[in-house]
């Protein structure tokens, strides 16, 4: 096994299995792994031919041996995996065996319907069956970094074998799901893989730029397994046609760049591997030294802290935010998402996510929030909780490399948080406080930071993975200590070489014109070396201060971004001036989304919220509905009006929250809606949702691909009387039927309304629904009638 990581020798992997199996009669579409059982001697001969060609490692014939790919094949995972290892073991002699793990072949949530846990379980099954006789685990040809994370965790939690990971990149330098090399390296190397690299898709020549990027960042050995050139279609068949000599030449070039594990993928045969072996004979691997980065990653974007100023958006945190509290209590993920989107659009680089409220299940909501946000916004997340269980659950399902907020100098906190940081390869914010509180003096805060670093290193965490927060105190209560924070940040930077963060807006608490103090403090802190301020990105003053700082500090070269940001400000004022006052009904009919809320706020000064709903919103909606039905307007225009009403509604709700506290006060009845299990089409459902909300119903939207149990649970919890289900495909109407059955069983009084492209009234009746809504307007009519609003 030691041979795997010998620094002075290349490790040669074998080439394609599929191409050779096809030569021996494997049909297109036939399961290659079935040959392990049907024709073990063929598989064995292929292994032997690669060993004869010079391979040090043979890869088991288990690329597609997951329970999903084997479904309907008549073979079990254990059977296929064990047989392949038996064959490999007998053929290998003193050579090494890599247990091959390919992609499951289905896209994961939220785009597909495969959950992280399901992917993990499938990989774990393959690993448990195969680890006994393998020398390493090769997770390969991956396009989706989220799937790789599931596979790596499955490998590490179910075996002690070394883990090697390869992903496959397109010519644009990203994987099919959008991951670039720096993001891949940042996530995987910190998850603790033993080697990583690139395979398949590209020929060796096209792979060179991707390899160069990987080598720039990777501190673990790098593997390359190119195809035998780019695929070409000859006589209607795909072939690869680079010669073994040319393959060998390119492989030697890549070895020279720093790749130390070399092999072939699609289209390569023992001749290619022989040429590769010959081409690198006499060469020695070189391992380029790389600089360690302090970088957080989402699946598709990496924010390097220390390169320019990185803004951490603080808005997703219920402390002091009435609307967010209300949204969290009502499970209203759309509100969180809008906050996430707004912060991204305002220029945040990283988003802090904190959902801690005493009255909710923080773990459940945190996991849900992270899943939702990572599906919509591609910024790295900072997972913020005081509860280690919540942090671990979120770090596990996070699709990327998160920052954990936070650890501090208390031993018991460190001993709980650091194992999570290490296991999931996170960054961590270190607060300079301990059992005794926050020290007054900068020097004492530095000491705590030093202690945290030392302890982290004992857990195997690099110092680069720690971002220090020297803690901002309020100028109103502890004026003297404000500058100690700034001094401490500068000390941490200078003495420990660590990156720093600060929650800036604390400083102004209890004083007037907080923005002015915040902005001034921010500028002072930036000048002293603050790398990642935690601020409200929607506070224009703060963002402007950073933009100006970037010019003066020579970060924003030629002041390009600054100049661009100044010119766009002028444009938006110009547009504003053109706006004229209009009547609310007309605003709704014309779908002038932005004008609704200001107009409603004006009306609220002398109208009750409910009066505005009944006297303005609903009458206007009825007019719009009639226009739609008569064909005077079409769907996008209907939706534009609906969004306008929604904005009006939100302004009313906000008003009620501010004046009366809890509850929306205008609900006309509850409706739970969902796109059923297995189905991912939700535009129709979203249209129904907005129209129902427009008419004053409280809608609980469970999203798409929703488990039956989750629907039942929600109906019970909210004591809703009506459920709306959507399914677009004939294949998913079946799961709609099952959902209705379960609802009847557990909630006998429930009424069910269904809709979707393949349904009609008869079909709806057949599957046991009470109502069929042929379109969203019909769904509104049914609901209004049901709740006696007409």
């Amino acid at each position: 096994m030691n041979k795997l990581f010998k620094n002075d020798e290349f490790l040669i992997f074998d080439g394609s299995m599929g191409v050779l199996l096809q030569k021996y009669g494997l049909k297109i579409g036939e399961l290659p792994e079935s040959y392990n059982i049907k024709y073990p001697e063929i598989v064995s001969n292929i292994h032997k031919s690669y060993i004869a060609a010079g391979a040090d490692v043979i890869i088991t014939n288990t690329f597609g041996a997951s329970r999903y790919k084997l479904k309907d094949s008549g073979y079990g995972v254990g059977e296929i995996v064990k047989s392949s290892l038996d064959i490999a073991r007998k053929a290998a002699g003193d050579k090494l065996i890599a247990l091959d793990i390919g992609p499951i072949g289905q896209l994961m949530e939220p785009y597909g319907t495969l959950s992280f846990q399901d992917a993990y379980d499938a990989f774990a099954e393959q690993i448990v069956e195969g680890a006994y006789a393998a020398d390493m685990i090769l997770i390969e040809t991956m396009s989706d970094i989220y799937e790789v994370k599931a596979a790596v965790l499955a490998a590490k939690e179910n075996s002690s074998l070394p883990v090697i990971c390869t992903m496959t990149f397109q010519a644009d330098g990203r994987t099919l799901t959008g991951t670039d090399p720096i993001t891949m390296v940042n996530i995987l190397s910190h998850l603790g893989v033993d080697a990583l690299g690139v395979n398949c898709s590209l020929g060796p020549k096209e792979m060179i730029p991707v390899l160069a990027e990987i080598l720039k960042y990777s501190s673990v050995p790098v593997i390359v397994q190119p195809n035998a050139g780019l695929p070409a279609l000859v006589d209607g068949k795909t072939i690869f046609n680079i010669s073994p000599e040319s393959f060998g030449k390119y492989m030697a070039e890549m070895a020279g760049m720093g790749a130390s594990m070399l092999g072939g993928c699609c289209g390569t045969n023992p001749d290619h591997i022989r040429a590769l072996k010959e081409a690198v004979t006499g060469l020695k691997p070189k391992r380029p030294r790389v600089e360690k980065l302090t970088a957080a990653s989402s699946a598709t974007a990496t924010a390097v802290i220390g390169e320019g100023i990185k803004i951490i958006g603080e808005r997703i945190n219920p402390t002091g935010k009435v609307k967010l509290k209300e949204a969290l209590k009502n499970d209203d993920m759309d509100y969180l998402l809008k906050e996430a989107i707004a912060q991204r659009d305002a220029g945040a680089h990283i988003l802090d996510v904190n959902v801690g409220l005493p009255e909710i299940d923080e773990k459940e909501i945190m996991v849900k929030a992270v899943k939702q946000i990572q599906g919509i916004v591609n910024l790295p997340l900072q997972l913020d909780s005081t509860n280690p269980d919540v942090i671990e659950a979120a770090a596990r399902i996070y699709n990327g490399r998160p920052i954990i907020n936070s650890v501090n100098g208390e031993k018991k906190t460190m001993d709980k948080i650091f194992p999570i940081v290490k296991k999931y390869g996170c960054l961590v914010v270190a607060l300079t406080l301990d059992e005794k509180g926050i020290p007054e003096k900068a020097e004492d805060r530095l000491k705590i930071a030093e202690r945290i670093v030392r302890r982290a290193e004992e857990f195997g965490i690099d110092r680069e993975d720690i971002i220090v927060d020297c803690l901002v105190l309020t100028a109103s209560a502890q004026q003297k200590e404000v500058q100690e924070t700034i001094k401490a940040a500068a000390l941490v930077k200078e003495r420990l070489g660590l990156r720093t963060t600060l929650g800036v807006s604390n400083v102004s608490f209890g004083l007037p014109d907080r923005e002015l103090l915040n902005r001034t403090f921010l500028t002072m802190a930036l000048a002293s070396g603050l790398d990642a301020p935690i601020i409200n990105p929607m506070a224009e003053d703060m963002m402007n201060a950073i933009k100006a700082y970037n010019v003066l500090r020579n970060i924003d070269k030629d002041a390009k971004e600054y100049i661009a940001s100044r010119s766009s400000t002028t444009v938006s004022t110009a547009v504003k001036e053109k706006e004229t006052v209009r009547d609310l009904t007309k605003i709704i009919i014309d779908g002038m989304k932005e004008e609704a809320a200001p107009m409603v706020r004006q009306l609220l000064s002398n109208h009750e919220g409910i009066d505005i709903v009944d006297n303005y919103l609903i009458p206007a909606l009825d007019i719009v509905g009639q226009k739609y039905e008569s064909g005077e307007i079409f769907l996008p225009q209907l939706i534009q009006s609906a969004e306008t009403v929604k904005n009006a509604f939100n302004a009313i709700k906000e008003h009620i929250l501010q004046n009366a506290g809890e509850g929306s006060g205008v609900s006309k009845g509850k409706v739970v809606i969902a796109t059923v299990k297995g189905d991912i089409h939700d535009i129709g459902k979203n249209i129904v949702k907005i129209l129902l909300e427009n008419y004053g119903f409280q809608v609980f939207d469970l999203g798409k691909d929703v488990e039956t149990e989750e629907i039942v649970k929600k109906v019970r919890r909210e004591k809703a009387a009506l459920v709306g289900l959507s399914a677009l495909m004939t294949t998913t109407v079946k799961s709609m039927e099952e959902t209705i059955k379960a609802l009847r069983k557990h909630c006998p009084d429930i009424r069910v309304m269904v809709g979707g492209a393949v349904l009609n009234a008869d079909y709806a009746k057949m599957i046991g629904a009470d109502f069929y809504g042929k379109d969203a307007r019909e769904a509104v009519k049914i609901t209004r009638k049901f709740y006696g609003c007409e």
């Binding site: 297109i28 319907t113 209607g236 989107i341 769907l635 996008p636 534009q640 991912i680 939700d682 535009i683």
Partner: protein, 219 residues
């Protein structure tokens, strides 16, 4: 990639209504954004057809095409191309994003993406037609799983045979839904003589009340 605005409007249920400047602007914006963010992927293979009692078998593969409609579409075909096209995952991401952030835009964006994937299919179909011509063959119209009685479950088998997940990132879930969503699989027959199979166009469908039906033109 050509996105026909008339097609987009048809998917949106357009029936000649007046469109104001802001909506027209949004439509243009979506058309151009779909073009920019699409990561077009396609793949196809050409197989000989061997009919037997089970259905139409594609030589050298495990694919068997079953059903009356695909049979009549390929009645005279000796070969067929099996194709798969996808706009990629970023289009799905944007649809999810806009349907949350701006539903009107989400709706229009979705329709533009549908028009885009259809137009990409046309391009691939032209390429297949050109290949057929070299072989001295004519092509039939494009026929997709889910048309008529052509079993939608075959999508899984097509995806496996063409290795679409590995090549272009196209997968099929357990409910036979293709992901990324803006994707198409189809069969195109290749035959000796001119194609006299009925063009399987929208207007010939049995669902006369479908709101997407292409029966009138609106400028």
């Amino acid at each position: 990639m050509n996105i026909d605005k008339k097609e987009v409007l048809r998917y949106l249920g357009y029936r000649g209504q007046k469109i104001d400047d802001s909506l027209a602007g949004l439509l243009d914006e979506c058309v151009s954004e779909v073009r920019t963010v699409s990561n077009l992927g396609f793949t196809y293979e050409i197989y000989d057809i061997e009919g037997n009692e089970e259905g139409l078998c594609l030589k050298g593969t495990t694919l068997i095409l079953r059903g009356r409609d695909i049979h009549s579409n390929l009645a005279k075909a000796e070969k067929c191309a099996v194709m798969a096209v996808t706009l990629g995952l970023e289009v799905d991401r944007r649809i999810d994003f806009y349907t949350r952030a701006d539903l009107t835009k989400g709706l229009i964006f979705d329709a533009c993406a549908t028009a885009a994937v259809e137009s990409c299919c046309d391009i691939v179909q032209e390429e297949i037609k050109a290949r057929a011509k070299i072989m001295g063959l004519e092509t039939t119209s494009r026929f997709s799983p889910g048309y008529g009685d052509f079993y939608i479950g075959i999508q899984k088998e097509i995806v496996r045979a063409l290795k679409t997940y590995e090549k272009i990132g196209l997968s099929v879930n357990e409910s036979s839904i293709m992901i990324p969503r803006k994707s198409v699989t189809a069969i195109i027959g290749m035959q000796n003589e001119g194609c006299d199979t009925v063009e399987c166009k929208c207007g010939s469908c049995e669902d006369k009340y479908c709101s997407y039906r292409r029966d009138r033109d609106y400028e």
